[in-house]
């Protein structure tokens, strides 16, 4: 009889030691001779062994270009790539595989919608609604669209805690409102937006709504049918998968009437110099050789996360966030930016009057990786009157002991700056 379970049990609390052993980088990297304390997961998360192995297996035994190939490897790669689409479809509970478009990241997915939907269906005087807490990726593509079309960007305000002021959000809707795009979870503040309610309001006004899920899918189950959003985007590398692959979910009826984003191979049915007939969805949006290996590895990452269980992940991350919030709040002079009632495990903070870049540089001496800066959310920084924050963002492989290290290091920085 084997005394050691082969995998993490499907219920009960996380076996952190086992989970951490799945992530080679956590034990293989030392910084200044100290164990890595990786608290920059909102920027990019680490990759577990099963996902690394999947990438290696693909490149070792399955790689060729997909679609149209009549040879063995092309069929193997095509099957794996299309199976990955199915895995993503189940992960989001979309109705059909063809509602899943592989992109290169969330930025790419938002640009796809801005181009494919926005440029086709918005005109002068039309309005797009976003919130004050958006990442630049969910601001700039819309600004570019507005500039081109003479449309207007409307911004729902946030309060001091970092929550969208819902009455103000609803007030923005009028007959000129043609599109809404809001983040599910704020990368700078950690706020979990009431997207179900926000979608219902958009639906009530008959306006399509896109949800930026870059910071959400790694923390909580997402069901696009239950949410009833029109578009939902997330990225692979924040979900323990590789960089270079993202996902756009779109309702089939919308995707079908949208313009292609990029022209090229694979997005066509036939080409003559007189006329090109576009391919069906989702291929219409996947011009050129897509991130095949990355999509397949993303599916492996989804399988891995499902095996750990998003509910257990959420429970452990809640505990990490609670403990980290308490630990940092207990240090005089530390100010936490973003105190929404519902938060993902993202903690932005300010240490006295020490500039966040000094904080980040010094925490690195203790092997602690945090992000410092405006987090590509300059309007959020402006809202709080600060140039930047230090941000600790936790994944399920982080431990309470790592939170202790963070707090001790912050105390040391504060002492140094006296």
């Amino acid at each position: 009889m084997s005394a050691v379970p082969l995998q993490t049990p499907a219920s009960g609390p996380l076996d952190l030691e086992r989970v951490r052993a799945d992530f080679p980088i956590l034990s293989e990297v030392q910084v200044h001779g100290k164990p890595l304390v990786y608290l920059d997961n909102a920027a990019s998360s680490q990759m577990p062994r099963p996902v690394i192995d999947r990438l290696v297996r693909y490149q070792t035994r399955e790689h060729a270009n997909i679609h149209r190939g009549v040879h063995y490897l092309s069929a193997v790669a095509t099957d794996a790539y299309e199976a990955a689409r199915g895995t993503v479809r189940r992960f989001l509970n979309a109705r059909e595989d063809r509602e899943i478009v592989f992109t290169s990241n969330v930025t790419d997915a938002i640009n796809l919608v801005a181009h494919g939907y926005g440029r086709a269906f918005l005109g002068a005087g039309d309005e797009i609604v976003i919130t004050h807490m958006e990442h630049h990726a969910n601001i700039v593509p819309w600004q570019m669209l507005c500039e081109e079309k003479g449309a207007k960007l409307r911004v729902a305000p946030i309060d001091d805690a970092g929550e969208v002021v819902m009455e103000e959000y609803e007030k923005l809707f009028n007959p000129r409102t043609k599109l809404v795009s809001v983040t599910h979870v704020s990368n700078a503040l950690g706020t979990v937006n009431p997207v179900k309610e926000m979608i219902a309001i958009a639906r009530h006004h008959g306006v399509p709504i896109m949800i930026d899920g870059a910071q959400a899918v790694q923390h909580m189950p997402v069901d696009v049918q239950a949410l009833d959003c029109d578009f939902y985007a997330f990225t692979g590398h924040k979900l323990f998968g590789p960089t270079g692959v993202g996902v756009l979910y779109g309702k089939a009826a919308l995707l079908e009437k949208m313009r292609p984003f990029r022209g090229g191979g694979d997005m066509i049915l036939s080409v003559t110099f007189e006329k090109t007939t576009y391919n069906t969805i989702p291929f219409k949006f996947e011009a050129g050789t897509p991130p095949i290996a990355q999509a397949i590895a993303l599916a492996a990452a989804i399988d891995y996360v499902k095996e750990i269980g998003l509910d257990r992940i959420a429970a452990h991350e809640r505990e990490l966030l609670r403990y980290a919030t308490e630990s940092l709040q207990a240090i005089p002079g530390v100010r936490i930016i973003g105190t929404a009632r519902e938060k993902a495990s993202v903690l932005s903070f300010y240490v006295g009057d020490v500039h966040p870049h000094d904080v980040g540089t010094l925490l690195n001496d203790d092997g602690i990786a945090v992000r410092t800066g405006h987090h590509c959310a300059q309007p959020v920084m402006q809202r709080y009157g600060i140039p930047a924050t230090a941000r600790a963002s936790f994944a399920f492989y982080n431990t309470l002991a790592e939170v202790d290290k963070l707090a001790a290091s912050v105390r040391w920085v504060q002492k140094l700056f006296g």
Binding site: H32, V354, H355, P356, H357, D358, T361, L362, N364, D365, T372, G373, H374, M381, P387, A388, L416, F417, G418
Partner: protein
């Protein structure tokens, strides 16, 4: 190296109590310095008289490395001739980008060598250099200096 070696007492002191903070009211030269990476944003104002810096001041919002660098810079260049100042700007730039070994080569940097360690923290080099770029821009009558583009100390090497 541990960055705490860079955050020496002298740098922390200048960060806490910056010298020559504010504006030179009757300035003859001024420039604004921006580091988009971390949002460092400073203004340098100075008054030239007889080819030398008669008065100089800085203000703005920045990290400790940038603020201490600006503070020590103003103290170092006050009273100096413009060509001496430009030599210091070049030497400071060479030191922080690793091209000047302050222990070996001849230079005029004096106490400014406390910033030598910044060469081992590539992402912070721009913080230390920004005030010097801004001073150079003021002297050459450029309104705005940036750590990006042609002035990028990393890309330009």
């Amino acid at each position: 190296m541990d960055s705490s070696q860079l955050y020496q007492e002298i740098i922390l002191d200048h960060n806490k109590k910056p010298r020559n903070w504010g504006k030179v009211a009757d300035c003859t030269h001024k420039s604004e310095g921006l580091n988009p990476l971390c949002g460092d944003h400073i203004w340098v104002t100075l008054k030239l008289a007889d080819g030398a810096i008669d008065a100089i001041a800085f203000e703005g919002q920045s990290c400790a490395i940038c603020k201490a660098s600006a503070s020590m810079m103003t103290a170092a260049v006050k009273g100096r001739k413009v060509d001496e100042v430009e030599t210091l700007v070049q030497e400071f730039r060479d030191m922080t980008t690793g091209k000047l070994d302050v222990a070996g080569g001849a230079h005029h940097l004096g106490r400014l060598t406390v910033f030598a360690g910044v060469k081992d923290l590539p992402v912070r080099v721009k913080c230390a250099i920004l005030p010097w770029h801004t001073l150079h821009a003021a002297l050459t009558q450029e309104a705005v200096a940036s750590t990006e583009g042609d002035n990028d100390p990393i890309a330009a090497g």
